[in-house]
């Protein structure tokens, strides 16, 4: 390979022959290996009984003949097309497959199917083709030879996406069956990834992410002090650093008990050529403020609360008039303080800016190639005083240490600083929530008796609401996180067929939080021993991982027809995590924000530590005959420190259980059969089937063991049992059956992929209720099962494709059905905020379980006629009154009680997918990606809190419609203090259709023509995200994910929404 630099890059296809002839170097890349094999065989003399095939190679877009295209039979012969695009090549048989490629064009496999004259059309790269190489865990293969369900995404457009895109959000809508739900609009907040629904109730459902061969740990270790703040490690990878993402939906057995939820393989970009290239990009953008929720203004609010107070039996009319905000006399000293019309949302939210600078240098020589990138990003949050700043550097190097030994190095370091605020359930310290409920009649600043406004912020009000402005201005929610990951891979070639490679990866991650909630403007919190006026906190989380993957690879083609690949290897991973936190309270002033300044007796410290190990021995055999029939077999045996010593299943070796996970798959490339030789419109048609076993080891590091925790009793410190260890605890088993059909028609103008799958989880972890006499409420055991059946479809087409204008369109669709097969007690009810989920045998998991409603009682007569009694939490009953919600008495016992709950919705979407368009016109390029989700229900908890009309919280404008008197036709129930009839309980009133169609990304790029100079190209990008969303959902946004747990999906806590963002970018190439 060291002679490569001497050759001109434009003619390298033809020159490859000589280069590789001379060196015989192995490049570890399928594209190269084609050339390698071709060269090797070209040296051989053609056998005497050769059959010759002639043909023509043309540019698919223009129809012009392609000169210098290479045509070869793997392991047999090769040819180059002449200046009219013609070629003639010897083949062993007319059953053979030609590999055809040209510089700047795709590489294509052409099955002869008995023909001796073929016309071959090649598309320019990049083009989503069935011949593209797919990155698989153990190597690369052309897509039309893969027998598992795998989707490869070439991240060619990363530059056009701007800085708002992260790996997970980029994948949204692009891969059928990968449901990406972004957590919230908070910068860097990440997404909930679900590949083919879910396979577990209590263990993780996140796919395994593997970056450059090393599993990338995307978990958080420990709890954050900032409410609903999440650290999302995967966001440390800049999209512009990524070359390819492969989503492996089945055939993940090689990862053993980590492969249950599929695998996302990410390959970062490496230097492609030796010439030094410098790319610089700068982006700046604008994040628009979310649309304000339509809340009551001061007058609407006052009318509402006077109605609500009117129903409070402890208040007389006089008491109500005595409230300072009910006084309309300007001479009253309180008048000015309570006669504002503050739009609190506008005081918290803002339009903000984002910026991103990125520099990439690639190049090298024939000994070493490198790719170095540097990035800086600053993204301001939607709430004032929130932002995320990230610095990152990545270095990827490839070294040819000797003819036989190569090395690849990946180093990346990123540093993040984020200012965030409490969100979600922290009702007194969450400024966003406070900005909705805070009475609009109140001012944000201190106001004197004479109406003069002080520069000081107002304290919490007499109604007991904190001042959101004070929180935004003075709360400290600062977090810093760093992640270093470094891998080095050595590969040694014993001979062209036998290779040994070993990879060592180290990941170090540290996240730190500094937290402070001020006293000023915030309602004091009540602790066990004291009243907390201000809170400070410090939190540190560390993660360390050492990983090794060593394998022996054999790859050989026998007799030009039998291709066999064997891999034998082992993986080892050692994990350590720890968390330490300290909390302090009541420091002398709000200026003292560290834990040490708090009152000594109230200080709290705590933490957690985790250490676990995983090893995995694997074997793989892939065989294909004439690139027509493919068989693949994978098996892996796992060892993990997490498994119990008395696990039922697995291979037992000296008291330890090693689960053996196997998979087998086959594919038949029907289009290569002779009988389809005349069906010219079929480019490729592949039928595939696979069955694979995999597992889920997310069962807790120490759950299988008995452990003790410390306990303080009256100042005496001791230990008590922390759990009931279950030595029989084991991994969850997930068996995946997959049937698929991949096709490509009309000379690859249209391609599709259809998959049916059936996943079955057995030995699923559940929390089994146990006798309370044990002192514990549950035992973790493997005693449930469920299955998921699904269909996926993707279709891509090049609608227009001539030289100047091309229009590619793609659509992905996915649907799944989940069913619980076995559960202890046949049913579990789980709670997430006010929502209850039912998971029951025979039904899908996590169904919303609540009350059905049927309007309201419009008259007292109707209420009386119903004869229903409401059973309150304390067991007392009361009749419903006019204006109450008409709950459905499901069991007909005349009581509205817990027993009347029924399934009222399901957060699991019925159909998800995306719709993409890419239009290229000369130098213009436009991408348009729509994503959609239909059939999923959402619990609008946000609205449940804003339409409950039971306290002093401000409410939505819809509450103007509240029932007021007999005969009023409305669906909004009456306002009532404390909601004695439970009108705001978890019912289908709050369940909304979460279907949406969103213009996820719209980007436009233009390449400015440049004269030949040092500057090679200039691109200008314009990107808009979340431009519009069609939805009936009334919350901020139908796309959110408050938790990764199954039992929390679809509950809208009212996190920062995904706003519209606009970006302009400039890319310079040197």
């Amino acid at each position: 390979m060291h002679k490569q630099t001497k050759l001109g890059s434009k003619i390298f296809i033809t020159a490859f022959a000589f280069v590789f002839l001379a060196t015989g170097a192995y490049a570890g890349n399928r594209r190269d290996s084609i050339a390698v094999n071709y060269n090797r065989e070209a040296k051989m003399t053609a056998p005497a009984d050769t059959v010759f095939v002639s043909g023509l190679v043309k540019d698919a877009a223009t129809g012009q003949p392609l000169v210098g295209a290479s045509i070869q039979i793997e392991g047999y012969s090769a040819a180059i097309s002449d200046n009219k695009g013609f070629f003639r090549v010897g083949v062993p048989t007319l059953e053979a497959v030609l590999s055809v490629g040209a510089d700047g064009f795709q590489i294509k496999q052409v099955a002869l199917k008995g023909r001796n004259n073929v016309t071959i059309l090649l598309y320019t790269e990049p083009f989503g083709s069935v011949y593209d190489l797919v990155n698989l865990p153990l190597g690369m293969r052309p897509a039309n030879q893969v027998s598992y369900s795998a989707v490869s995404v070439q991240v060619g457009d990363g530059w056009r996406q701007g800085s708002k895109a992260s790996v997970e959000s980029y994948l949204q809508g692009k891969v059928a069956g990968l449901d990406v739900k972004r957590n919230s609009g908070t910068p860097g907040d990440g997404a909930n990834l679900m590949l083919r629904g879910f396979n577990s109730l209590y263990a993780t459902n996140q796919p395994l992410i593997v970056v450059d061969g090393v599993p990338y740990d995307n978990e958080m270790y420990g709890n954050n002090l900032i409410s609903e703040h999440r650290y999302n490690p995967i966001s440390n990878i800049d999209l512009k650093d990524i070359d390819n993402i492969t989503i492996l939906k089945s055939g993940t057995s090689t990862y053993g008990t980590k492969g249950a939820n599929g695998v996302i393989l990410i390959t970062t970009a490496r230097a492609r050529e030796l010439a030094t290239r410098i790319d610089f990009a700068a982006y700046a953008g604008f994040n628009s403020q979310a649309d304000n929720l339509p809340l009551l203004d001061a007058s609407g609010y006052r009318t509402l609360i006077s109605d609500i107070m009117g129903t409070d039996t402890s208040l007389t009319s006089k008491d109500i008039q005595r409230m300072p905000f009910m006084n309309d006399d300007p001479s009253n000293p309180d008048y000015f303080r309570y006669h504002y019309n503050t739009n609190w949302q506008d005081l918290i939210l803002r339009n903000s800016v984002n910026q991103n600078y990125y520099l990439k240098v690639t190049g090298g020589d024939n000994i070493a190639k490198y790719a170095l990138s540097l990035g800086y990003m600053k993204n301001d949050g939607m709430q004032r005083n929130t932002d995320l700043t990230r610095y990152q550097v990545r270095f990827n190097g490839d070294l040819n240490l000797s003819k036989k030994l190569t090395a690849a190095i990946n180093l990346s370091l990123s540093s993040n600083q984020q200012n965030s605020l409490n969100q979600g359930m922290a009702s007194q310290t969450n400024p966003l929530y406070l900005s909705w409920i805070k009475p609009p009649i109140l001012p944000s600043h201190v106001v004197g008796d004479d109406g003069k406004v002080s520069p000081n912020l107002a304290d919490y009000d007499i109604l007991g609401f904190s001042n959101p402005v004070s929180l935004v201005d003075h709360m400290q929610g600062f977090s810093k996180y760093y992640r270093f990951s470094g891998t080095v891979k050595f590969a040694y070639e014993f001979n062209p067929s036998l290779h040994l490679q070993t990879l060592v990866g180290v990941t170090f991650d540290k996240a730190q939080e500094d937290f402070f909630i001020p006293q000023s403007g915030v309602v004091p919190d009540t602790l066990d021993k004291a009243v907390a006026y201000n809170h400070s906190g410090s939190n540190l989380q560390r993660f360390f991982n050492l990983y090794n993957d060593t394998r022996l690879n054999y790859d050989h083609t026998f007799g030009g027809a039998h291709h066999l690949t064997l891999n034998l290897g082992a993986r080892y991973s050692n994990y350590e995590s720890e968390q330490e936190f300290g909390k302090g309270y009541n420091s002398a002033t709000d200026e003292f924000v560290s834990v040490g300044m708090g009152v000594a007796s109230l200080r709290e410290i705590g933490g957690a530590i985790g250490k676990w190990r995983w090893m995995n021995g694997y074997f793989n055999a892939d065989y294909d005959f004439r690139q027509k029939y493919f068989l693949s077999f994978n098996v892996a045996a796992d060892g993990s420190s997490r498994f119990g010593t008395q696990a039922d299943e697995g291979l037992k070796i000296s008291d330890h259980s090693y689960p053996v996970m196997a998979s087998i798959s086959g594919a038949w490339l029907m289009s290569s059969e002779n009988f389809l030789a005349n069906a010219g419109f079929i480019e490729s048609l592949k039928l595939r089937a696979s069955y694979s076993q995999s597992g889920n080891d997310d069962i807790g590091n120490y759950t299988a063991r008995q452990y003790y925790i410390s306990q303080s009793l009256l100042g005496m410190q001791g230990v008590v049992r922390g759990n009931i260890g279950n030595p029989a605890l084991q991994w969850e088993d997930v068996a995946k059956m997959n049937l698929g059909l991949d096709g490509s028609l009309f000379n690859e103008r249209v391609s599709f992929s259809l998959d049916y799958y059936h996943n079955k989880t057995t030995k699923m972890i559940t929390l089994e209720p146990i006798n309370t006499a044990t002192g514990f409420s549950y035992l973790i055991s493997n005693n449930s099962a469920m299955q998921t059946d699904g269909l996926e479809f993707s279709l891509n087409g090049r609608l227009i494709g001539n030289g100047a204008l091309s229009w590619d369109m793609g659509i992905t669709l996915a649907s799944y059905k989940n069913k619980i097969l076995q559960l202890p007690g046949d049913e579990i009810l789980t709670q997430f905020v006010d929502a209850t989920y039912q998971t029951k045998v025979g039904q899908a998991a996590n169904q919303f379980y609540g009350y059905k409603t049927d309007g309201i009682y419009n008259t007292a007569a109707e209420a009386a006629a119903s004869g229903l009694l409401n059973v309150r939490a304390d067991g007392s009953t009361a009749a419903f009154e006019a204006g109450d919600v008409r709950f459905v008495d499901n069991n007909g016992d005349g009581l509205i009680s817990d027993a009347d709950r029924q399934v009222i919705g399901s957060p699991n979407p019925k159909l998800t997918g995306g719709f993409s368009n890419t239009v290229t016109l000369k130098r213009w390029k436009m991408d348009m990606l729509f994503t959609f989700s239909t059939g999923g229900d959402l619990y609008n908890y946000q609205r449940a809190r804003l339409e409950s009309m039971s306290g002093f919280e401000n409410q939505t404008e819809a509450t103007v419609n509240r029932w007021r008197s007999d005969g009023q036709v409305t669906s909004m129930p009456r306002a009532s203090w404390g909601d004695p009839s439970g009108n705001a309980r978890f019912s289908d009133r709050w369940i909304e259709d979460g279907s949406y169609l969103r213009l996820r990304t719209l980007s436009l790029s233009y390449q400015i023509p440049v004269e030949k100079s040092a500057l090679k190209y200039i691109y200008i990008y314009g990107t808009a995200n979340n431009l519009f969303t069609f939805t009936k959902y009334l919350g901020y946004d139908p796309e959110f994910s408050a938790t990764r747990s199954v039992f929390g999906q679809g509950v809208d806590l009212g996190l920062e929404p995904l706003g519209r963002t606009f970006q302009l970018g400039l890319r310079l190439g040197f």
Partner: protein, 489 residues
């Protein structure tokens, strides 16, 4: 091609702008007001109703239009135009009066007829209460009830409800010249109210506030301090006696309230007439019960419809003028029960005493009594001051000797009340003494002690006196209670 570009961009832009508002539409649909009546506030609703044009005009004239268009919520009983035709035009011409009229038809907070079953009393903006029932406001019929508005509710009534006087206002206006009125007038006095007085400084020596002279002076009436018939928030039935009935009462009661002078006796008698003429609640003439208990002293009255000369509804109840009043004298001149343990003092404060808790064997009821024994003083006394009428009282006691085998005598004595201490407590000259009476063993019954009659109405000290010996066991004092029963004619 460039044209195509532009078209494409325009198309995208158009699409974008066209759909940006989608989200808002969903909210608008959700927030859309389904009931058109709650779109407008009360003022707009009233102005929009042709039947209420007169009322609407008066609202503007009196300034209540601004109130009704504020974001506080109200209930308005609007008289229709026909109702205003019946109102005295001079009343409507007087803005001050009109303000009272209009303000008296508005209350804070929405009140629907469904809330008015049973009827509720509501305070209007002028401070007067109105009685709101399903079909009526006071006596005015509700023609159209429950018209919702954004900030409250509107009821249309067929008759203008003029502000009512309360019992006191009615009495002082129309009956100040009756005997009863003249007497009550005498009960007025001036009082300095520190809350309404203007403070001009502090006394440098005492720190007490100094008020500006002439401020904070409030006129009060002792009758109102006892039963406040001027309070809008209470509901009373008040009785006014005709002069003849008043005289009759004076004659009837004079004997029981004798004092040293005729004027004092007369004043006392009259006070005891007027203090008991108020009854809790509104008792309509047709609903008068056989017995009405007066406020505070629970005198049992028997008011019959036949004696009622005039009935007047007032804002805080009802007032009757009667020509005769009937009540149980024993509920007016009540027997007096003096619990033994409720003593004021006794002869020698050093002496120890016991308050026992005892059970009556037959009935198992519990009582407490006072026991003083083994103190070695002769003629030891315990004092109980009480207000007594000038009537003959029969005296009884219950004195249970269940703690020793020997009996002992005790007696009662009376003397005009003194506030000062005695210089020689062992030798007091009593006005009246009843003879010694032996306390028998285990007697739980009342024992008759004799009669006596005070010379003057007022506070009298009653003494329980032990045996005139120092022997322990013979000079014991034990007393459950003393009962004085007036002998009435």
């Amino acid at each position: 091609m460039i044209r195509l570009n532009k078209c494409l961009i325009l198309l995208i832009l158009g699409l974008t702008i066209g759909v940006l508002g989608c989200k808002k539409d969903e909210w608008n649909k959700h927030n859309e007001i389904t009931d058109p009546t709650i779109k407008n506030d009360l003022l707009v609703t009233i102005e929009g109703n042709p039947e209420l044009s007169a009322f609407s005009g008066y609202l503007k004239k009196t300034g209540y239009d601004k109130v009704l268009s504020s974001s506080l919520s109200f209930t308005v009983w609007a008289p229709n135009n026909a109702a205003f035709d019946k109102v005295d035009p001079s009343y409507l011409a007087d803005t001050a009066k009109l303000r009272l009229l209009i303000g008296g038809l508005i209350t804070n907070q929405p009140h629907f007829t469904a809330d008015a079953d049973p009827a509720i009393r509501l305070k209007t903006l002028i401070g007067k209460n109105v009685l709101f029932s399903v079909a009526k406001l006071n006596d005015a019929a509700i023609v159209t009830p429950d018209l919702r508005a954004k900030n409250g509710v509107l009821h249309i009534i067929s008759q203008a409800v003029l502000p009512q006087q309360n019992a006191w206002e009615f009495f002082m206006k129309d009956y100040a010249n009756t005997e009863q009125g003249k007497y009550i007038e005498q009960l007025q006095y001036m009082y300095v109210d520190p809350d309404s007085a203007e403070q001009i400084g502090l006394d440098p020596l005492t720190g007490a506030p100094i008020y500006k002279p002439g401020t904070g002076l409030v006129e009060r009436n002792r009758l109102l301090q006892r039963v406040n018939i001027n309070n809008e928030d209470s509901l009373v039935t008040y009785v006014i006696l005709t002069d003849a009935a008043y005289e009759q009462e004076k004659t009837k009661l004079a004997a029981y309230f004798q004092d040293s002078t005729q004027i004092e006796s007369d004043s006392l008698t009259q006070w005891n007439i007027v203090k008991d003429l108020t009854f809790q609640g509104v008792w309509n003439p047709d609903e008068l019960p056989g017995i009405l208990y007066s406020i505070k002293d629970s005198v049992r009255f028997h008011i019959t419809k036949g004696n009622i000369v005039k009935t007047q509804r007032v804002s805080n109840g009802i007032v009757y003028v009667v020509n005769h009043i009937d009540y149980d004298m024993e509920s007016k001149i009540k027997p007096i029960v003096i619990e033994g343990e409720a003593f004021t003092n006794f002869m020698d404060p050093e002496v120890a005493y016991t308050i026992r808790k005892r059970r009556i064997p037959g009935t198992d009821s519990i009582f407490r009594d006072l026991l003083i024994e083994n103190y070695g003083i002769a003629s030891f006394w315990v004092r109980y001051p009480r207000v007594l009428n000038t009537v003959t009282y029969k005296a009884y006691w219950v004195s249970v000797n269940d703690f020793q085998t020997g009996t002992f005598p005790m007696k009662l004595a009376f003397k005009g009340h003194v506030d000062t201490t005695f210089s020689d407590p062992a030798h007091i000259t009593f006005d009246t003494e009843l003879p010694y009476q032996t306390v028998e063993l285990n007697n739980y019954q009342e024992v008759y002690l004799g009669d006596f009659k005070p010379d003057f109405y007022g506070l009298l000290d009653l003494y329980l006196i032990a045996n005139n010996v120092k022997t322990n066991g013979s000079n014991t004092i034990v007393l459950d209670y003393i009962k004085l029963v007036p002998v009435l004619n």
